[in-house]
């Protein structure tokens, strides 16, 4: 089984190396290498999953990496269990589909080979993260996916916005990573190991005080929040849409941003010990979901809508984990990966044909792009949680879990957010695909087959995955199997609300029964507030400008003027003393002569006194 894991992991790495050093000149070979490698990985991961399915359990492989201390081994390793094997499949699948899709999307792009090499590197890093058997390895790959995200967001580096967005993404997530790093170090120092299973065992024995557990959990969550774009570290994700759309689909919707959730799942045994930490996660997840969902309603950029939707859905996952909905959260992660990738790729297809991101410059695309429209609709329905798509199963599981855990306020907010979700998706769908034509002089056309075939496949998954929810919950659970409740009321209610929201959107944007402009006028304040994304970016800018830059400039100034000033002051003192003494040397021989004779006289007096 570990040979298969090695295959999964090393194929993309080999592809990266090959493309970077050898095939960079030929675009076709580069993309082919990358895709073949990914296909092999996908097959291997499927085999691994099959093996795991046949005998569930933890399979571990350890390889020593750095030997300094006997009682703190630093290792690399593989941990295969249902959780990781499922994630392997998801990553490989989405990555492969995105790579196929990119053949069309990135056609004629200047950095085509570079794109494929980075995407291979990303796949490698993401897979490495998934199979990591210890926190350090996870952290390593965690940073590497962050790097790939940076590189791929900045794919069109000559655009200032892209360059800025890339930097912002890296730096903001780095803030989160700081917490994770501290957590890793803290755990290593306290438990003497990085290994997940051993940490679980050691912590289980109660070696850490409850406060310490909470602290560690929150620090880990800090990292997760950075990567999974949770409030208040979510600001990088919308900007990250500057990258190529397939990248948004792969990294910023399906895989990397889910890594934060995956991290929490991997270290759930820590969170499970701390009620406080769980509550924090739940509250932050829920508020993120609500906030991002509400912002998504007013966005004009199709990718931004999806980006905020991603943040919102990640908030859902966090909420689920916060209310002991381990299985539900993870399941939503997987379904979300498929339908959000689908949505992004669909959006990419539209953008590819119209060369604009603004939904108000689209319209009635259903006529021209049937496949895209239908698959986008399926994705949208899945996201809205309409039966029988996969989103229905995963999202309702979360809602039920929240209600069952007794967090009524959170449930109410989450329920409302579900309504938002349906509304903004419907808004986008109607405006882009059904309403009046708003583009002129352009001739939208259906994308080539390399682009729509992945769409169809992903759409199939987005619909089909939901039916595996029971099997999933038997395979993946924390503690005890959480038998899915066959509650009827909540799914019914949520579906009704979703349909209601869709109808509302239909009324506003399709039939224009209710004027959107009038609504904007009516709720000008709310609209402005949402349009400006709760002014969080502004707050950050304010903080960075007024705190960080001021502090750094102060440090720079302090260094130049105080520390160095002291040095230069010493210089100055010496040289001015010398300058004063220098005046004695007038260059006038007679002055010197006065000195000579004066000295002689003084000497004489002195010698007389000595007598």
């Amino acid at each position: 089984m570990f040979e298969l894991t090695a295959t999964v992991l090393l194929c993309p790495l080999a592809a990266f190396v090959l493309i970077t050093f050898f095939t960079g000149k030929s675009e076709k070979i580069s993309s082919l290498v990358s895709m073949v490698a990914m296909a092999v990985s996908l097959l291997s991961s499927l085999l691994i999953f099959a093996l795991i399915l046949s005998a569930p359990g933890d399979y571990e492989l350890k390889i020593p990496w750095i030997n300094i201390l006997k009682d703190l081994p630093i290792e690399m390793g593989v941990l295969l269990n249902p959780v990781s094997s499922v994630m392997l499949m998801v990553v490989c699948t989405v990555s492969l589909f995105v790579q196929i899709y990119s053949v069309g999307y990135m056609h004629n792009d200047e950095g085509y080979s570079k794109y494929y090499s980075f995407i291979s590197l990303f796949s490698f890093s993401m897979l490495g993260l998934v199979i990591a058997n210890n926190l350090l390895q996870l952290y390593i790959f965690w940073e590497l996916v962050g790097l790939c995200s940076y590189l791929l967001i900045g794919h069109w580096y000559h655009k200032p916005d892209a360059a800025n967005a890339a930097k912002k993404a890296f730096v903001v997530t780095r803030f989160g990573d700081f917490g994770l790093l501290i957590a890793v170090i803290f755990l290593a120092c306290k438990t003497g190991t990085f290994n997940f299973l051993e940490i679980e065992r050691v912590i289980g024995s109660g070696i850490l005080s409850p406060a310490a557990v909470t602290a560690v959990a929150l620090l880990i969550f800090c990292g997760a929040a950075g990567k999974s774009a949770q409030f208040p570290l979510h600001i990088w994700l919308p900007d990250a849409m500057e990258g190529p759309t397939p990248i948004s689909a792969l990294i910023h919707a399906a895989t990397m941003v889910a890594a934060g959730v995956y991290l929490v799942i991997r270290t759930y045994f820590i969170f499970d010990l701390s009620g406080t930490a769980l509550s924090v996660i739940a509250i932050i997840g829920c508020s993120t979901a609500f906030m991002a969902g509400s912002i998504a309603i007013v966005q004009d950029d199709i990718k931004k809508v999806l980006a905020y939707s991603t943040i919102s859905q990640l908030g859902y996952m966090m909420l689920a984990l916060g209310v002991h909905g381990y299985t539900a959260g993870y399941f939503h992660l997987i379904t979300h990966a498929t339908f959000k990738a689908l949505l992004f790729l669909g959006a990419g297809s539209v953008i590819h044909s119209l060369h604009t991101n603004n939904i108000w410059e689209m319209g009635r695309l259903f006529k021209n792009m049937k496949v895209t429209a239908v698959t986008f609709l399926i994705g949208g329905l899945a996201l809205s949680g309409v039966y029988p798509t996969s989103g229905f199963f995963s999202k309702d599981a979360i809602l039920i879990q929240t209600l069952e855990s007794g967090h009524y306020v959170l449930f109410a907010v989450a329920f409302l957010t579900a309504g938002f979700t349906a509304f903004y998706m419907a808004r986008v769908f109607f405006v882009v695909f059904l309403s009046k034509e708003k583009f002129s002089g352009k001739h939208p056309h259906e994308s080539p087959a390399v682009m729509y075939v992945p769409l169809i496949l992903l759409a199939t998954l987005a619909v089909g995955l939901g039916f595996f929810s029971e099997g999933f919950s038997r395979l993946i659970f924390f503690g005890k199997i959480n038998e899915p409740e066959h509650a009827v009321l909540i799914p019914l209610l949520s579906n009704l609300s979703a349909i209601g929201a869709i109808v509302l959107a239909w009324a506003i944007y399709q039939k224009e029964l209710i004027s959107a402009a009038a609504l904007e006028q009516r709720f000008a304040f709310v609209h402005k507030f949402l349009k400006n994304k709760y002014y969080i970016d502004e707050m950050y800018v304010f903080c960075v400008k007024n705190i960080l830059f001021v502090v750094s400039n102060a440090a720079g100034w302090f260094d130049r003027h105080i520390v160095d000033g002291a040095v230069n002051g010493a210089f100055y003192l010496t040289s001015s003393a010398a300058g004063a003494l220098r005046k004695l040397q007038t260059g006038m021989v007679q002055n010197y002569a006065v000195g000579i004779f004066g000295g002689v006289i003084l000497l004489w007096f002195f010698m007389n006194m000595m007598k």
Partner: protein
Amino acid sequence: MIVHFPFLSAILSVTLLGALIIIVLPENKHFLMKVTAGVTGFISLVLSLALFVLYDRSLGGFQFVEQIAWLPRLGITYQVGIDGIGLAMLLLTGIVILTGVLISSHEFKAGGLLGATGRPKEFYALLLVLVAGVFGVFMSLDLFFFFLFYELAVLPMYLLIGIWGTGKKEYSAMKLTLYLLLGSAFILIGILALYFSSGLRTFDWLVLRSVAFPAHFQNIVFPVIFVGFGILAGLWPFHTWSPDGHASAPSAVSMLHAGVLMKLGAFGIIRVALELFPIGAKFWCPILVFLPIVNIVYGALSAMSQKDLKYVIAYSSVSHMGIVLLGICSLNALGLNGAVFQMFSHGVMTALFFALVGCIYGRTHTRILNEMGGLAKLAPFLAVAFTVGGLASLGLPGTSGFVAEFLVFLGAFKAYPALTVIAATGIVITAIYVLRVVQKIFFASLNPNYIPEADACTMKDQFTHEHLEEVSDSGHKGFPISVSDAVLLEKIPIVMLMGILILFGIWPSLIINVINIGVSSIVQTIGGSL
């Protein structure tokens, strides 16, 4: 396996011989001088590598020891030997000198950075003398020779910066020299105190190590030596020579200086302060640890506010040397291993940086960040290399910088949890300024000051008035400068340095196993917790 070839003396004599040959070469044989310097660097690297391979890991301790009585009546012996720590440093020096010589040999071409000053003969001779001094420090087992080599390494810097530097070079050279001599004064006091108080009248490090000095003596002398060497290691608040010095020095000198010379300070702290004064170390390190913390955070913050590329790199060196010193102050195996590994890693990384800065400066004729932009289009190789260097600098896994910083933080956390958390904020700030620099130089739209080399001729006639105005607005007068990518002579050393960064990032055990041999004996001496 004990090999009787005198490797260490061979390294020393090869570098000195190289300097001698360059001095006697005729004035106009520039190519021969470069070749001689290159060959000298190459031989010393090969010899270091040979040592690295031949060093018996199972035996540990000091190997390849050579001993010649020099002034027996004063207890001065020419005694060299190498342990794990010295080995890593030797390897680093070999790498940096070779790459430095290669980089500077390109800069001596007409139109290059050093082309205007010329005088390659003196330059290379001084460079090799400096390196001989550095090699000498890393292998000396006699405090007299230790100090002698130390001064030999420090003093040529004055001339190298004062003559071949840029900007306010005289000021920088003077400042640097005065500072380092101040440090030397401290060190000399410490060494003499050792010499006289031991009662043995010997400079032999091995003998002195076995002397148990009384606690109060250790407590007095330790901080003196710590600060003395700390000045060279960029210890706050004695670091301000380094930004000015690095900014003014030519690339190869900056590479050697930040890459190797600053490590002499840290190495001296380990070799002299830590190993000879274990009690003093235990007493002082928890107090002195605040300075490295300030180094890390404050250095990074200062780096963020700089507008000059070289100053950014120089302040980042201050910040990174803070990590080294933090590791040393943690006094445990993890921290010390991390510190030495960081010395190695930062040496390579900063050499890479300064090499690149030289390449960039040679092309753009400015080091002000705001005057650059979009160069990735014209010089993709430099962009990639700089990004790799930057990633190593911000401690990205996969580069040696991560392993080093992680080990240091791990070790330091065991000793000073709260302070380590503060220090670790440095890595966030580092990310901010490194990416900012990368972005300002290479990304975003191309600054109109620069055009591709191919367009230089064809475009010259087409410059409209508006274009020139636009150009002059951005602080550049006159025609745009054509910018090309790195040439082979630049690519070789840069690729070498990049490769080393990544190799040791992926496979740190390769060198940590050796370092650990040296470190574990220190930890035993200190008797600290592991």
